[in-house]
Symmetry: D2
Subunit: 335 residues, 4 copies
């Protein structure tokens, strides 16, 4: 049993706590949140320790691993504390909004053998995973294009959007990681376009975008195209298409249920897509914990590492730069 | 070139005339209709003979074959005239509403080598045909169940319904033939249920049904289930499911177009099904002519013969008898 | 918190135990199984009482309700013990294979206010439920036909089949209940057909069928058609179609995942259907517990009662009788 | 009746000749092809004039309109001859491979009132058209993104590819026009990426690409994303997605038939997509003729004019420039 504590008892932290508690080879041993009522609620529900401070979590001999679900600015510090304390880490994305801070952390923890896994949950979605497996099994030949459609069901609260680091570091970063994962080779150039169509005033204020397209190209010429919007009224639009010399595999959207209506005005009328990311990716969040426990227990490499987190951030930076300069950015320009 | 004349210039006759005129190996040479304006319109459009009488059609040395699209009560006579004149016949279903008349005709024309093909057009539908081909190719193993859903988009005019011979001889007869075609062995028992739910008053008046279920069983135990309604508001519902020991093949419905909408209230919103049988089965009507021309030109057996028309009528009779007696009817009770 | 004990720690009992343990308003307090190792495993996993005898469960003041997941022949006795002890009951279907025993039990427990709920889980399937809701909301007008396709992914072990009471009491009983639920009015006639196509030798030996069709009709003429097979190689085929004057609602099948492949030979290639009933109906099994807890806690009627269990069994009996006599059976002939 | 002659009796010319001949308000009066046997075949089939020279077509008083389906380099000249002769023109795309020649022609024919329609057939596809209609009807709100997937079923012959003007002037030009049509406002920037993955040697030789992505942006920020490949083994992949503030409309792919198979290894197995563009867009080609006849007869503007052809070519030029300079091209740089 891997004994895990959860830092951060917000929406995502609570979900992770539930998943860990239900996992057959993991044990939820404690939680921490600077906002005491949240931590009390979760520790009470599961009958586990409510730590007084994050430091206590890392100091506890009852804790093997720490899941970091606190606000982004705390991630770098907590990862470093985990490395120093020898606690395996599963950290929500992104590592940080500043590539410089991430690079500095990278230098400080270089060579550590403490497992650090990044929470790019979409890699573990069953539909996305079997699409990739079809590719690996040669069923669709050589990969030529990865087409990711990724649209949120609605805008996050203004305050969240304003401190999110911008669409590419907040939303698209998931897709950038997924594209890297599917492409199977490193991205060499990034081209991005951004528009302000959903909430122009807010986007103007944040110097951000709510509608975006990103094209990634690898050294061998493979292309990945990401289409983003912050608001799809029909639900959480999450499709991945792998196009190759031998065919195509598509991970399709998820409706709320499997009922269709056939009426005078229209047929095949189906439910909206699942709206909430926790609901849409619930199987993936469970599989993520599973992979983490596996890797830590067996000593295998974690399936998504610190460097994956750093590279996705670099790609996000390149998106902003591409728009600012209206040109294609070579990734090796990004330092 | 097979030189064909069309008897009957109503909706179906006109469509057949167009299809024959456009067929590369057939030639429309003339038409006849007791209602002169209809015949004039079609003969004028195609620049072909407007015969004065049906007798003239059968007497003409310019005519190789006759397509009979006149009202049902005339079919028996015209088929016999065709046999006597040595003109190949393609006759719309049913042969007649009276099994006795059909049996008498059978005796009179027994042994003829004049090709007589029945217009059970659904056998030629591309979707139904490839489903059957999958069965013949062994892709779905041994056949166990045939499930036919067949619902009209709306009631025919009252006058038509009243003289139609009842739902089983009018609508279901297509499905009864299709079931025989798919089962690949003769039906031994028939059980039917009828209800009056769409237009109870009219059905009461005609001693008919607008909603029906029929179960056919063969000697080896294969089952065919037919589900009928005279009115499906979403369009012409025409599905065929072949279920076997090795899998299932389904010939699915046809929407008016291939556009889907994804909205706040519903996703995958598609057009209604094609409503009109001529539109829904347009490819099948063309293929029917093609098969007829092929059979006549090569001397091969027609793909749907007189006996198929007679047996479908026998099954329809058995449906009414099954309801009247609330029991399963053995086909050999039907004489 | 409703304190529930589970009788029977086989496959279904274990699943129910897990679901109860995870339910926010229920508490798993104990289990019992005549086969000690199974009971030990489940009680150990959840840290609950391993009762020495079923009698102890009903006698315990720590138990509010009992879920009966033991072999069918024990159900009648356990239900009666529950009624006598005042413990709410959730009993797996069927109540018994003998209508006489069920009728006798009915007389003995008549007038009890102890909640007795039957485990017809399909009523709680989200897809089936929203289809029914569309009907209740008037979206598809007046109901005319209910079409249930229900095919198992494979044969149960011979020993199970031999003692199952036959396909109609074992498999179809779920569909018979679901048809009653959807029809919304009582069935007045039953007509059934059975065939031996999947495993003729075994079916011959058991005097049973592996392939079946059932037609139910209500007083107002509504029709329900059930199509069964004991083996669908493509998975657990579970579809429900509600056809009405204003449209149609279909609860569609569930694939293992949402990935499609598009290859030179075929497009839209999807995963097989979920094979295992616990996986296919997992949401329904959870909802079933939820409804049970709700009803017991609020004192409302249980959503599926003892009489529903008895009537489904009566319909199953009528199916056998219909086949034996090759006729439609009026339900009031069934006593 | 609009009397039309067809220049060019290759694959496309023959199809247009058939469609014109079958059109109720058009008449095929003659054909011309420099390769006599082709012209003879088509004129013989339809019993129309086989003109000795293109000049004779334009000089004939029996000709109201000319459909130009000859090789691209002849288009400019034939359009000009049509204008001078006062014959309405329907010209296959592209006008020419040289923007300079097109611009020069534009100057020479400026102010003409002879109808000149460009054969961007996809505008007339029923699925694409109803998707656009949903947009115009406000069903999907304000348009934000147009996503066009356009992949050929296989490489054209090497000789054709080598003289095609490159993927953007040959294939993508259809998508560029369709994007303009759907966007409803002019494109202001173009960014393209090209790769050589299907046939690298040939692409290297032609300095061309077989795999491409194009992003178009309008002044108001609307985005169009085009994904191209010269070879999709599963057939002719032609999808159009309109994403807006109120929802999404998708014109989906067309399978060869509507049959699905459900097997042990996979469910929903469907036929490959229609492979041949004439088959896939057959309804669109017919509608194109219809719109042309309508416009000429009523004197209304043609639905796709010379300027549309010129602008699509300009966008294609911008694609090549974007790749060469690895940057986003402003359309007003293109002169």
């Amino acid at each position: 049993m891997l004994r895990i504590s959860v830092l951060g008892c917000g929406r995502i932290g609570r979900m992770h706590a539930d998943n860990i508690a239900a996992h057959p080879r993991a044990e939820l041993v404690g939680v921490f949140d600077v906002y005491a009522p949240s931590a009390e609620e979760v520790s009470g529900k599961h009958g586990v320790i409510n730590f007084n401070a994050a430091e206590d979590v890392f100091a506890s001999s009852d804790v093997d691993a720490v899941l970091i679900a606190t606000p982004t600015p705390t991630h770098v510090n907590f990862i470093e504390m985990g490395v120093n304390a020898g606690k395996a880490i599963l950290c929500e994305k992104p590592i940080d909004l500043s590539t410089q801070r991430v690079n500095e952390l990278k230098e400080r923890i270089d060579g550590t053998d403490v497992p650090i896994m990044l929470g790019f949950v979409r890699r573990f979605d069953p539909g996305h995973a079997v699409a990739r497996q079809a590719l690996l099994d040669g069923e669709i030949g050589e990969l030529h294009q990865v087409v990711i459609t990724s649209r949120d069901p609605g805008m996050s609260p203004d305050a969240y959007v304003e401190s999110s680091g911008g669409i590419f570091r907040d939303m698209t970063i998931h897709d950038l990681d997924l594209a890297r994962f599917m492409l199977g080779e490193e991205v060499t150039t990034v081209t991005a376009h951004g528009a302000r169509l959903v909430d122009p005033a807010l986007m103007e204020k944040c110097d951000d975008f709510d509608t975006a397209v990103v094209t990634l190209v690898t050294a061998s010429g493979k292309q990945a195209i990401i289409t983003n919007s912050r608001k799809a009224v029909y639900g959480y639009d999450q499709r991945v298409e792998l196009f190759g010399s031998g065919g195509m595999a598509i991970s399709e959207n998820h409706s709320e249920n499997r009922m269709t209506k056939h009426l005078a005005a229209a047929t095949n009328v189906s439910a909206p897509l699942k709206h909430f990311f926790i609901e849409r990716y619930s199987a993936a969040f469970n599989a993520e914990i599973d992979h983490f426990v596996d890797a830590v227990e067996t000593g295998a490499d974690v399936p998504v590492g610190f460097e994956d987190g750093r590279l996705a951030l670099l790609l996000a930076d390149a998106c902003f730069k591409s728009i600012a300069e209206a040109r294609t950015i070579r990734i090796n320009e990004m330092g």
